[in-house]
Amino acid sequence: MIPPEIAITVRVNERDYVERVAPRLLLSDFLRHQLGLTGTHVGCEHGVCGACTVLLDGAAVRSCLLLAVQADGARITTVEGLARDGEPLHPVQEAFREMHGLQCGFCTPGVLLSAVELLRDTPHPDDATIRRGLAGNLCRCTGYQNIVRAVRRAAELLDRR
């Protein structure tokens, strides 16, 4: 017996949505399949890899560990919200491009959002702080070398802004 859908209101990337969702629908699936925001990726669905990281009311969270109904009333930023259509890349995105901070690009959206949160809270992190801040995002391609460099570079770019 599948329980009835529940109406939720969320603000995603500065746009309001009123949607009906199944109670068991994961937030990651809601963003990807119901709203079509496929930039949020799912790597493990058990909260370890961090690919599905989004900002929920400003905090980096694993969207695979939340139900869509838990996001009712929340404000969410996904990777698509960092630089919207026609806008130049966000400084964190630009820094990842400059420093070759991505390879296959699958873990990248989650890494970017973790980095945005890190640099908001710690605008001038040293490498140890960067590494601690991103320890919850698995990347299988880069060995993290250029991710760390990119976050360092992003701090510089954000300073200039």
Binding site: C104, R131, G143
Partner: protein, 796 residues
């Protein structure tokens, strides 16, 4: 001529799209009305399927299709043996759905299609299977024991293959050697585990009779041709697309995965699109795995530490089936000699079935095992003769003047194991110069007085890369001036949209940013194999270079005709062609592309100007006999045999003897992959490889219990390194171009991962020398380090 595009550190063409979240991975492909699949997998390592009752599943609202083995009919035949070998006497490949018997936990048994994945999983949970569990073998040792249960009833002794290769006269050399040393070495199961798992989407259009499949694969062309054959469709009515692929590492070169047949089958049956996306648990039990060998190695040395002969016998764990043949152990056996002169070498291996996930190549593909064995042997000799391991290496290296060096063995591709070029002693000296070993020994001694344990480890490797059969390319300049490049193999993070563009741009005198590269789409290019064996840049890169040079020739010929000069007087750079020293003669590549396609109807000023030429008097047909329209060409490159890249890595580690933790303090890489097309991309490949190697050396381990139950089914159990475990990696590039291909390229995709377990073992040995520790197994997790310490203390 402006700056060469080859060799430039340019940012990647693919990045803006991926950074904006606009990548298109398989799970992002959503044809209208797409249905979702889920797989019921065996919970037993070995069992007979007594009965399957799907009635409750079928009755669920939203369930559209439930398939068991009989429902697949003819299509449930065993999947092809990809790489047959006469030594593989008992090959066994799986069927898409198990029929009567399952042979590993995770083997597909029922495929369900439903409205969404949630309902599909509900349906899987509602299927009632009656199993008759059978005894299982979960390790090489138990599989080879007398009276062991058989994975396949018709494969005696669980032996799939046995192979022997021999160079020189090892027996004679052993008989007369000053010293003979012996070691037993073991490398655990591991797996590639890309962050994007596998996934397949299929769409069948019954009106057009076309099947389109998106798969997160490293080889769409073989899948396309195989599906056409399996489903009785013409090849030209089947398309397979590998869109953005979120990492492969060899896991996705395996084909056919059962789901690559089940999803298209369901789409054809239903006339509706179907998607299946692997979850992580499925990946860790049902995707292919690797490593997993036990070696008995003996070495004969003279009094100076020169190797006279080496004999290795090893067992290779194949898992439950051998769809990929015996490529992995062949590579281990042929690449084991590494950069050393082994004039007398005997190697034999047995490939053993176990009730575990299938084993196919994973980044390194047998080489990390071989390097582990060879480098452990170097360490053994050093210890025996009280020499620095670096010195033992110096005394055994193949010298720069000795190329081509024939190892004397048949390589994985059936060709010779013939090293084409390299400079191995230089690599070691560069790495040591960076680390300062003399200074290190002093610091190590000081640290020991403070009861801190530092160790230095070195690992050398030679990697056969860029094997055939061949790849091809299509290069076309469009009237916009943009260049289109297509090749058949795929990209899963290597930056091909940039490096391939650099090769085309270098030939065509344009900006790599103006080159669009399409990979892995059979609609765009129909010939080739796939991305594996560190071969993409060697094979497709050279094919693109060949095709682009043909286009360049045509550009120069047409420009010479238009400008009424000799093509020798022309200069092609910055996207324009003109007479050298006469800038006002310059014609853009776009204008020449327009001229080369003489039709009258097109937008734009250049098109109008080109059309005007057609109304002028001319001698004959618009296209002279033999002439083709447009600025385009096809090119193919088939390597004569593998080209051999090489490298030397070294690290300084600190071992905490209280916790067993191994911390890497310095990590230096020297590598030589011939001509470097984009140093930034090459460094990225090495970084990732080293990180994976560190995982294999210290953390990653696939564990099965005695009944064949996998115990590492989440990322909390299968531990991949994070930012906290991978140290800063220092890289030294050396370039010894390959004489085998026009661009001088060697592969680099797997390189980083190969020597890491070997050098971490040497470093830990060195750090714990006061305790008499000798590392024989990988990975070295803290528990194992503590066990080694206890063992060392007990025997001291």
């Amino acid at each position: 001529m402006t700056t060469r595009a080859i060799g430039a550190r340019i940012p990647r063409n693919e990045d803006p799209r991926l950074l904006r979240g606009l990548g298109c991975f398989v799970d992002d492909v959503n044809p209208a009305g797409v249905l979702h699949g889920a797989v019921l997998r065996s919970p037993h390592a070995h069992a007979r399927i007594v009965s399957i009752d799907t009635a409750r599943a079928r009755a669920l609202s939203g369930v559209v299709l439930v398939l068991t083995a009989p429902d697949l009919g003819e299509q449930n035949q065993p999947t092809p043996l990809l790489i047959p070998n006469p030594n593989l006497t008992h090959p066994r490949t799986p069927r898409p759905l198990a029929r009567d018997e399952v042979r590993f936990v995770g083997e597909p048994v029922v495929f369900v299609v439903a409205r969404d994945r949630y309902v599909a999983e509900d349906a899987v949970a509602a299927i009632d299977v009656t199993w008759e569990p059978l005894p299982a073998v979960a390790s090489i040792e138990t599989a080879l024991a007398d009276g062991a249960p058989l994975v396949h009833a018709d494969v005696p002794g669980n032996r799939a293959a046995r192979m022997v290769q021999r160079v020189g006269d090892p027996d004679g050399a052993f008989a007369s050697a000053a010293r003979v040393l012996h070691e037993q070495l073991f490398i655990e199961r591991s797996c590639g585990s890309p962050i994007e798992g596998r996934g397949v989407v299929a769409e069948y259009d019954p009106r057009a009779g076309t099947l389109r499949v998106w798969s997160s694969t490293q080889a769409p062309l073989p899948i396309k041709n195989g599906l056409a054959r399996l489903f009785g469709l013409p090849e030209f009515r089947v398309d397979v697309i590998a869109p953005d692929v979120g990492g492969g590492f060899g896991t996705k070169i395996m084909l056919f995965y059962p789901e690559e047949i089940l999803v298209p089958f369901a789409a054809v049956r239903l006339g509706r699109p179907v998607k299946w996306t692997e979850d992580r648990r499925e990946h860790l039990i049902a995707a292919t795995q690797e490593r997993g060998q036990r070696h008995d190695v003996e070495v004969a040395v003279d009094a100076d530490g020169r190797i006279l002969a080496l004999r290795d016998r090893f067992l290779h764990d194949a898992g439950a089936y051998t769809p990929y043949g015996i490529v992995v152990p062949i590579i281990t056996s042929t690449q084991l000699p590494g950069p050393y002169k082994l004039r007398n070498y005997a190697v034999e291996f047995d490939v053993v079935y176990t009730n575990t996930a299938m084993v196919t190549p994973y980044r390194g593909a047998g080489r990390p095992h071989g390097a582990f064995v060879m480098e452990r042997v170097i360490g053994l000799i050093a210890r025996e003769l009280s020499l620095e391991p670096a010195e033992v290496r110096r005394r055994n290296f193949i010298q720069p003047h000795e190329f081509p060096w024939d190892v004397g063995l048949t390589f994985q591709d059936g060709g010779p194991t013939r090293y084409d070029s390299g400079n191995y002693p230089l690599g070691l000296e560069l790495v040591l110069a960076r680390l300062g070993p003399g200074d290190f020994r002093r610091r190590q001694a000081e640290a020991r007085r403070e009861e801190r344990y530092l160790g230095l480890g070195i690992g050398c490797y030679v990697e056969g890369t860029g094997i055939g059969p061949y790849e091809g390319a299509h290069v076309r300049i469009e009237p916009s001036g943009r260049v289109f490049v297509a090749t058949g193999l795929t990209t899963q993070g290597q930056g091909h949209q940039t490096t391939f563009a650099q090769i085309a741009a270098d030939a065509l005198g344009c900006d790599p940013a103006d080159v669009t590269v399409v990979t892995g789409d059979t609609r765009k290019f129909n010939w080739g194999a796939g991305t594996f064996a560190s071969r993409a840049l060697v094979t497709s890169g050279n094919a693109i270079g060949i095709a682009a040079l043909k286009v360049r020739d045509k550009v120069l010929r047409i420009a010479a005709e238009l400008l009424e000069v000799s093509s020798d007087d022309l200069e092609l750079a910055g996207g324009v062609v003109g007479v050298r020293g006469m800038p006002d003669t310059a014609l853009t590549l776009g204008a020449l592309a327009t001229v080369a396609n003489p039709i009258r109807y097109a937008f734009g000023k250049e098109a109008a100007e080109a059309a005007l030429r057609l109304v002028k008097p001319r001698k004959g047909a618009v296209l002279a006999p033999g002439e083709e329209p447009g600025l385009e060409a096809y090119g193919y490159y088939a390597p004569p045999h593998a080209t051999f890249a090489s490298g030397c890595h070294a690290a300084i580690v600190e071992v905490d003897i209280a916790t067993g933790d191994v911390k890497i303090l310095r990590y230096v890489v020297q590598h030589d992959c011939g001509t470097v097309v984009n140093p930034t991309v090459v460094e990225g490949q090495i970084h990732g490889g080293v990180a994976q190697g560190i995982g294999g050396a210290l953390y990653e381990r696939i564990v099965y219990d005695e009944q064949g139950q996998p115990l590492t089914t989440t990322f909390m159990d299968f531990l991949m390194p994070t930012t906290m475990e991978v140290p800063e990696i220092e890289i030294i590039h050396t370039e010894t171009p390959s004489p085998l291909n026009p661009l001088g390229i060697k592969g680099v995709g797997e390189a980083g991962a190969i020597p890491v377990p070997a050098l971490i073992a040497e470093a830990v040995d060195d750090a714990l020398a006061p305790f008499g520790v000798r590392v024989r197994e990988m990975p070295l997790n803290p528990g194992r380090v503590l066990a080694l310490l206890a063992e060392g203390r007990a025997t001291a």
